[in-house]
Symmetry: C2
Subunit: 655 residues, 2 copies
């Protein structure tokens, strides 16, 4: 018997026989629907809403009672039993525990409300000035000051010498029938304690007050992001991102610090990152048809080492005990002094950090997250090469950094790579055959595995029994995927034949697994020590905010399964995107918010884990999947128990 | 009959016959005594004190009653009539209306009392700092700030990026058994309204707080002077002076402004003056065995054009009506930015001026003169290429500039030259023979006549009748010195035979005379307009202060005779030396005084003479010797009347 299925919102209709899998009907309609786990009913990504009609659910393990009541069904586990009307929600909206890469790059809203209109860091003022005469022979600069005071109430102007040199000619070039008409661009004091006087940073004939361009920059160890912003409207205009060119001199901060010790090494690293930023600025300028010299402010968020390298401050003592940076509250520097190709007089303002391993990217993150304004006990984590963690609320903040190592960023893992085209970013393993299904960034043959892929792979290997809780592969299983290779026991994720460009099989070895477990263990130990140190139980945390470059690819469910994230309801997790650049954007728009970052940095206690015995203890306990303390991971324990039962049943059926 | 003459303080003794001229006896004793007027008894320079014994005075016209009572006698007009004890005072002490060049260069006292010890612009602080540890891991810069606050109460330190780059290494190089021990050099805020935070400008291992070097600079159109100063003790250390190398591009400000219009001209002029200052700094460094990079502050006084050229600000609009500088309150600039070879972080602070032709050299002069603190109605004049005049007291100040032209500086006068070796600086003319006696700088054959020589020559020509009050030579006189040369009527001061290097006779032509009369007329007209404009009579002025480069060579008596200076008792005139550099020195030592200069500049009214009809009137009246208004020059009139009588008597005797 044939049934008619109507799909919303596409409006398509298909006829299928009774008993057809809904996912097949969707495919027949030509509607794209991902089945990441290959139709095992395990990932829950193919959920749809059956709005009317008869169906048969084979499984619904990923659906909550509320969702079942609302009509949700997994397309790969549901058969057609009558005429149906089916709503297919946008996949990304459903799977909120794995925000897509794209969503994070799209237009960001200003995360924290602030009065940017009345208190911006740079303002442009249009002035009509009566030219001098013998009876009014005030000097050019004093005349400009006088009119700024008269027309806009701005007093005590200062200017650099190069700026002062342009005043006389620019004023005379601005002659109109109405007098001299110019736009004066003023930096309205710095963020320093005690208000500095406004500073003239540009002057040009005509009225250009419509738009005031500025940029917010995130200097990550791996990636750099630049946001182009209009201070006059408080609006984001465009963004550009790329790898930090310093990568050629080392993948992580320690190798960069070592590189900086070479003759000319520090200067070379500085030129590289400045070059990266300048290239992104050029890209933004071309795409938006703007003049770079009319960009009047820049805020920069980055970890303490990145900021030292950007400013060419010697980072040597960051690496050596007791880990001392030159400065964590850097002072603003003129763009020209750093070689940044915006208005030469514009201030480049690096946001303050807390210590050697909790930098301005973290304080920016806290700013953009609003956790400094909430009553809720909040845990903020920025997962990158290091895991930086902040715990607290509007009253107090405590932070630490756990040296996770670059494993999740692809280093120290044989088939590891960064999250770019060709990287396996998600893996599902069949509990029956141990065969994997994977998704590759860019939908091309795989070249390797990126961080999110590793988390996903690790979790699947653990849950399906491919690997035990210590990270040893179960070589007793009947599958060619588990074998002993050149580098010891390994699991084959993709065969060389299907992995063009990988130069062989894509595998995960026991050595890789061990590295990954140490990385996740360090981060979890950080959570534990931080909460312990203030006498709080990790379970009391009301909200977990995830920021940072790598953070955005983490699948919370999988991260909990391997014990990277604490086991709590998914609703408590909130993914914030690139909090570093969002914080830089917030601080750029509003002087009050800029002061707030300084307050956050001042207020935040820094726990040095290398000096803390508790960390070693917690770290050791965390070197198991999900953890030695299984009671802390009830959902994972339930899942494992469920699987064991299912396998037991399957086994007994097979017998 | 022979008499014994004992000379004090030399202790020499000679025997001479009765009736011998005392000046001959002094020469016989081998004691140098100048007779500028050649023994005519007119200049009064050969005054000595006859402490005991019998003399006969032929004349005593230059001696006051008090001086006669004290035993003063003119050596050239006194004969020996018995055994004598004679005291020969230092000549320069006596002739107080003509201070010598040397005296002006000697160690200056701080002209105005100020609390430099508690409020200097730069201070050095010695610090012992406990190195960081895991339990005290404050950053290097914050640690430095913390200790400055703890040990010296100094808060809110800032530093430039190049300075910040040195902090980590310097602190670690300063390691001693006691901890880190360093000297931090701080600029204690600028002079700007609203206190800027202290700025770290140097940091070096060890204790160097004994001496804090700084320099005060006068940039004159013709000469540059640099004072080396110790801010820690408030003491002058040494000075160096030379011509401004810009002279090669023009003698006066107008020709420099024109030169600056050429392609690269402004930058060339800037490099020249910076080069001049750097050479003087090098000279001071070598002579005093100091490290230039340890000079931590510089104040600069100069006229508005000189300051524009020093800062490479376009001076074009200073020359064009309505005469508008870019700025008269320049902002401090880092030494490195200007290419000045002192501590690169040190501020170079150009003192504020009032307008296009009343600059920082004048406000500095007013500061150093203390006239801004007195109740007395004071007239301050800085005579150089321009005559800048300030009238006022502690309540009010009004200023003007009269374009005297460069005649007194040797330009526009055929035999004119600057006051250097070979320049005739003083002239006396015999009222009988019209033969001149002159003094040449360096006691060499004359090459030309400098400004003071011209004033002296003009006065003598006028008083002896060589020239009439309109500046026309009396060609009826029986002397070969008055003749009609290639350039019209002229007076020969030195014949070619005695004037090696002059390339001919040294003469003063009627055209020269006319130029000089216009120059003196412009200055006197300035006095008149300034006093008139505030309803004051010139005679009410209680004190006349003379500063500036050329001012120091002016013989007041002669200057009054030609109507360059108002006719008042000599006691009212006070020569202050190079008030520009003295003001820069005062402002350098003390932030209160630095603020005072700004106050002076703000308070001072500027009268633009080119817009003032009264000036043209007064100028025309002043184009006579001494002036159309002879009643304003009673002493000169008396002198002329006396001469006329004497000549009448001499004439009748001769008949």
């Amino acid at each position: 018997m044939m049934h008619t299925i109507r799909f919303r919102p596409e409006g398509k209709t298909v006829e299928v026989p009774a008993g057809t899998l809904l996912s097949d009907a969707i495919a027949q309609a030509g509607i794209g629907l991902n089945l990441p786990c290959g139709g095992q009913g395990r990932c829950g990504r193919c959920r749809v809403v059956v709005e009317s009609g008869q169906i048969d659910r084979r499984g619904s393990s990923r659906l909550s009672t509320v969702e079942l009541e609302q009509g949700y069904a997994l397309a790969c586990q549901t058969t057609v039993q009558g005429d149906l009307q089916v709503f297919i929600p946008p996949q990304e909206a459903i799977v909120r525990h794995l925000p897509s890469e794209k969503a994070a790059v799209e237009v960001p809203a200003l995360p924290v409300a602030c009065d940017w209109q009345t208190n911006p860091i740079v303002r442009q003022f249009f002035l009509t000035i009566e030219p001098p005469s013998l009876s009014d022979n005030t000097t050019d600069f004093e005349r400009l000051k006088r009119e700024l005071a008269r027309q806009h109430g701005v007093r005590d102007l200062v200017a650099s010498l190069p700026m002062m040199r342009r005043v006389a000619r620019t004023l005379r070039e601005s002659e109109t029938g109405e007098g001299w008409q110019v736009t004066a661009v003023l930096e309205m004091g710095t963020w320093l304690d005690g208000d500095a006087p406004p500073r003239l940073i540009d002057l040009w004939p005509g009225d250009h007050t419509g738009r005031t361009l500025a940029v917010a920059v995130d200097i990550g160890t791996t990636s750099n992001v630049v946001y182009l912003v209009d201070l006059a409207s408080g609006k984001f205009i465009d963004s550009a991102a790329s790898y930090n060119a310093q990568i050629s001199c080392g993948e992580d901060v320690i190798s960069r610090i070592l590189y900086a010790r070479k003759e000319g090494g520090l200067e070379h690293l500085q030129r590289l990152v400045v070059g990266t930023i300048n290239e992104r600025l050029q890209e933004l300028a071309e795409r938006n048809a703007i003049d770079l010299s009319k960009i009047y402010a820049m805020t920069v968020a980055g970890n303490t080492t990145m900021i030292h390298l950007f400013l060419a401050l010697d980072p040597a003592y960051i690496r050596l005990e007791p880990y001392i940076p030159t400065v964590t509250f850097p002072l603003p520097v003129a763009a020209a002094e750093l070689g940044i190709h915006i208005c030469p007089e514009a201030s480049v303002d690096c946001l303050p950090g807390v210590g050697a391993y909790v930098g301005g990217d973290i304080t920016a993150g806290v700013l953009s997250s609003s956790m400094f304004k909430t009553d809720k006990l909040t845990l903020f984590i920025d997962v990158g090469t290091n895991g930086e963690i902040v715990l607290g609320n509007s009253d107090w903040l405590i932070s630490c950094a756990c040296s996770a190592g670059p494993a999740f960023e692809g280093a120290g893992v044989r088939s590891g790579m960064r999250a770019t085209v060709g990287a396996i970013e998600e893996v599902w393993i069949s509990a029956d055959t141990y065969e994997p299904t994977y998704h590759v960034i860019g939908d091309v043959p795989p070249r390797g595995i990126c961080g999110s892929g590793m988390i996903s792979l690790l979790a699947e290997m653990f849950i399906t029994g491919v690997m035990d809780k210590s990270g040893h592969l179960n070589r007793a299983l009947d599958t060619p995927r588990i074998r002993v290779g050149e580098h010891g026991p390994e699991y084959v994720v993709a065969w060389a034949a299907e992995a063009a460009g990988a130069g062989g099989d894509v595998v995960l070895t026991e050595v890789d697994i061990s590295n990954l477990i140490r990385a996740k263990g360090a981060i979890y130990a950080g959570f534990s020590v931080l909460t312990n140190s203030v006498g709080i139980d990790l379970a009391d945390v009301e909200e977990v905010l995830i920021g940072g470059g790598f953070g955005k690819y983490i699948d919370i469910e999988k991260a909990i399964q391997i014990g990277l994230m604490p086991d709590m309801p998914w609703e408590r997790f909130r993914y914030l995107g690139n909090t570093s650049v969002l914080g830089a954007f917030t601080a750029l728009l509003c002087r009050d918010m800029r002061r707030e970052v300084t307050e956050i940095a001042r207020k935040m206690t820094y726990l040095e884990l290398s000096a803390d015995n508790r960390f070693m203890e917690q770290f050791t306990s965390a070197l198991f999947l999900p953890h030695t303390d299984t009671a802390a991971f009830p959902s994972v324990m339930r899942l494992l128990a469920g699987r064991a039962n299912a396998q037991g049943e399957a086994g007994s059926t097979g017998e």
